[in-house]
């Protein structure tokens, strides 16, 4: 069965510092990979997605992620965070076809001034 693991439940980081949020997936088949962000009291918003092609994917708000098939990872990075990046971040996987997303448990990013 498909599973997604987010290794850190909480990540505190100072403003303007770089950040990496880790995500690993397990699947015996190819998958599509996603990162969603949930700001306080709001719905989920797509940050970026990997379907195929280039393994480095750029998303909104300066975030990027790299698909690593050998390590089954899809870590999210930003070189310099802002206070406004404080939110919950969810990694998700979807096997090709008409299937729902499988989510990790989320990582709470707290940016400290």
């Amino acid at each position: 069965a498909q599973s997604v693991t987010q290794l850190d439940s909480q990540v505190p980081v100072f403003e303007e510092a770089p950040v990496e949020l880790r995500c690993n997936y397990s699947s015996s088949v190819s998958v599509y990979l996603f990162w969603y962000v949930q700001y306080p009291n709001q719905g989920l918003q797509l940050l970026l997605k990997y379907l195929s092609g280039s393994t480095l994917v750029k998303g909104i708000n300066g975030f990027e992620a790299e698909f690593n098939k050998s390590q089954t990872s899809f870590h999210l990075r930003k070189p310099s965070v802002h206070i406004s990046d404080t939110a919950e971040y969810f990694c998700a996987a979807q096997p090709p076809g008409n299937t729902p997303l499988v989510f990790g448990k989320g990582t709470r990013l707290s940016v400290i001034a």
Partner: protein
């Protein structure tokens, strides 16, 4: 040009009561998903509708949960005889096509069972 909407935004109910949650997807989106987000957990898939096909109910946790969708429009999720463990945020999402396209999420309904 509205996004996915859900109602109510908050629902407090007593154990044993039935509740009905509503989702209005983006117009034209053929796929509609229900997920549940319990405190400190990721999102759990509940049920999925795709056009006129039979829904995928494989994520429903018990027979107290059911959902309906009329065509490609509104969906309702019903929880009968609510239990305290049903307390969660229930999220609805819709997408134009399944399989790799973006799922657009509503703001959710926060259900509290006392």
């Amino acid at each position: 040009g509205a996004g996915v909407s859900q109602s109510p935004s908050n629902k407090v109910t007593e154990k044993g009561k039935d509740v009905e949650l509503r989702c209005d997807p983006i117009s034209g989106h053929t796929a509609l998903y229900w997920y549940r987000q319990r405190l400190g957990q990721g999102l759990e898939f509940l049920i999925y509708f795709q056009g006129n096909s039979a829904p995928d109910k494989s994520g429903l946790p018990s027979d107290r949960f059911s959902a309906e969708r009329t065509g490609e429009s509104v969906s309702t999720l019903t929880i009968q005889r609510t239990q305290q463990e049903d307390s969660a945020v229930y999220l609805c999402a819709s997408s134009l096509l399944a399989g790799g396209t973006e799922q657009f999420f509503g703001p959710g309904t926060r259900l509290t069972v006392l």
